[in-house]
Amino acid sequence: MDGFCGYIWLHRIRVSARRSRLHLHLALTVMPRLELRVVAPRYDLPQRHPPMQAPPPSGSRALVTDAVLHETVRRIEDAGPLDDAQALAQAHRMPGGRGVQVLARSQLLAERLGLPAEWARWLRLGAAVLLVLASLLALADLGLARAVLGQGRSINAVAAFVSLLGLHALTLALWLLGLLLPVGRRGGAPLGRLALWLSARLPLERGPHALTLLRALGAVLRRHGLLVWLTGAISHAVWALGFVIMGAVLVFGFAFHAYALTWESTILSASFFQRFVQITGALPALLGFAVPDAAAVTQAGHAAVGATAIAQSDWAWWLIGCVVAYGLLPRVLLALLCGWRWRAGQARLAQPDMADPYVRRIVARLDALEPPPQVIDAEQRSAHPTYAVRAGPPGAPGSLAVLGFELPPEQPWPLPGLPTGVSAGSEPPLRIAGSAADRQAALARLQASRPESLLLVVHGPSSPDRGTARFVREAQALCHRMALLALGAGGSSGAGRWRAWLDSEGFEAVTLVEQAQTAIEWIASGDAAHHD
């Protein structure tokens, strides 16, 4: 029995020191109670809830399951996308934002791949393993307590203190160290890795995705910093259970057996033991445990002399008090702390990592399922009025009008090098900014002068519009022939745009010129026609 217990203790040290992987394994075993909520038919009636409302509280218990299944599907899709058209469409109908929809899609795909069943099987397996492990550890604690009490009727009190709490103190220190040092979390523990490897390969109707599921769980918990809290909660809970058993055995032993608690030493003085008991007893004393006084300590050192029963009971309560105050209490508190952190941290799993390129791809595909832009006021092309465009009556032969229309203010006027038209000598050629009054005035002037040729100068880079068309149409009726000089329409695209516009508006008769030189030639061509 002792040999077996020794193995268990040794095993336990390694478990705690290299906690991360193996505890991950332990973690899974608790999850049936904490998390298991496999494939409730949550997606059957998505339309019941009004849109724009948070999804029904799916229970924080399912968060880990959802996150792990999502990560598993993600990893499976690393090798190539799954056929998800139906799942995507179904997820798209879920209310609650893209994050929820991405998780829903993963859930639906996971169901098709049989992952929830695999996950449930895995949790059951883990539960069994944890049960075995916890019983082994409880057995070890039982053995330890019995070993302390079973050495005959005389117990070395200080040695018992060390053997009951030493291992615990060591593992606790290692755990705290691992918590403080980020390097400690890397934990490439071969033992833990082996345990994971074995769990994934246990020959129990294992599915094809068992290993992926396992890796996904590890990745999810690590990414959200939950691994350390989950493993901590389990580890401390198991230790606390051990201390409860240990305390019970001690109480039972001290209650029904008469032990002589002593100390002995070759090199240490009685005052050392007095101080030791005083210091270690301080905390149990606060909790109401009796602590042997200095005289009792000195007396216990001379074990041969019969100690009083009162002093012996103080010794026993001191030992039990130390186990409670330094063993049970810290472990329970740490287990509660870890459990609380684990619970609180699960909220982070509710939303997938939206900055994950994989998630962004799915979001983009969900976005593509949205209804396309919708025409709300359609064009009624037939309603467009068609005007009969006619050239006006001939003006005086050779007469010319130059008119600037909606030109930028910095444009020099009259245009250098261009004939100024009919108003030469009397007043400069007209240039209008395009207000209604301007237009009326310009048309009135054309009406009065009736030029044979009208050169309308416009700003080439601007877009022609129907306001311009209206003016061209009205001006065209007041002259015999008309040219449009698109200033600065440089390049074929600018001029082509004006030409195309002239044609589409029915101004095929209007000549388009791009430069002053061409405009002069156009004017001259009119003169030439008259001289012929």
């Binding site: 929809q101 990745a219 900055a355 791809r361 467009h384 695209s493």
Partner: protein, 466 residues
Amino acid sequence: MTEALTIAVVGHTNAGKTSLLRTLTRRADFGQVSDRPGTTRHAEAVALRLDGREAVRFIDTPGLEDSVALLEFLARQSGDSRPERVRAFLAGPEARASFEQEAKVLRALLEQAGCAMLVIDTREPVLPKHRAEIEILASCAKPVMPVLNFVRDGASRLADWHRALEESNLHARAEFDVVAPFTGAEQRLYADLATLLPARRAQLQDIVEALAQAERERRLAACRVIASTLIDVAAQRRSLSAEAFADPEQQQAWVRDFQAQTGRHARRAVDELLTLYAFGADDAELTELPLPGGRWEDDLFNPELLKQAGRRLGLGAMIGAGMGAVADVALAGLSLGAATTLGATLGGAISGGWQPLWRKLQNRLDGVQELTVEDPVLWLLAERLLALARALAQRGHAAQQRLRLGAEAAGALGDDGQTLIDALSAARGHPAWERGVAGALDDAERARLLEALAGALRPALERQPA
């Protein structure tokens, strides 16, 4: 959740209304954009969706083209107030004839929208027709937010427009280049809109926050895409038996295959970045991109570029023979004798078991050659992908010209390049980290390196190109 805000996007013809909406809704496929006047002739509703919810409903409208005549016509309508006169006009026959397009604009603004965004091409001179447009819009008694477009163009007449808007009593305004928006311009646009719509302030604030959040997520995702690809390429490792290696033809084919695989990794990253920024690879406007054509991937092994990258890496002329891939023939079969690679192999051996080292020794004994990618290739790849991500982040969804990435790609890494390449040496000892090969393994170590690299890339991506 309150009802989505409806905004009518109005403006003169060709001012860039549809372009603005493409950029704001990140839909390169919305509507029709061209420099022909009057491209949009109907009113069309498009949603800005944030996290799947419709946050803003935009109405794209035709241009207000004949504003001078319309203003006169409106003045002749009966009614006591200006909105009443607009309603009278809409009920009349000309709303379906001469002023059909204008009627669509006014109908959308008056009956559906909560406010208007007036898109202005600031290259245009301020003319009476523009003033008439503003006056007509004001007649609808809805808040109007002028959005000044093309403000960075050399021909922009920003000061004139500022004055004109103030004269028309429009004191709020936003500057927004629809083709090349400023960083954060979109958020500022909605924030400015809140000054006009105090009742919707909280809603607009939510939009601003959601947009900022989405931008952060996109940026981080882009860094991860780049980092993951760099790990793939750094981990790339192929073996060739001694006999095959001795045959020059087989050896060449082997190197070509290797380079093609690197090109595929680069290609995948480019595709992912395009998807991330909502530019489709098959997007008609992007087919002219030099990227998907494969030129980029070839460039990764361009001898001259490799030499330059090697020089910047401080490798001198020693490396950069133009192959870009190194046969693993050096001392004791450990990678190419470079200390970093040796360290990586040992590091890999320690963290990942002794398998890699053992495999190497075995290969050495059997005369098997292994090929890995040179550092300058990683440098070039990182630089290019970073430059692409940066360009895509800056690019409006209305941009129609080619995305040119040439000179500005060089130096995209800045001073972080060396650190990045050093960090990547950890991947060299892990051939299983290359995605897409048999036995690929995305383990905790890879995830850690990925996050570290992504974190290192982030400042470089956020930095504005000089």
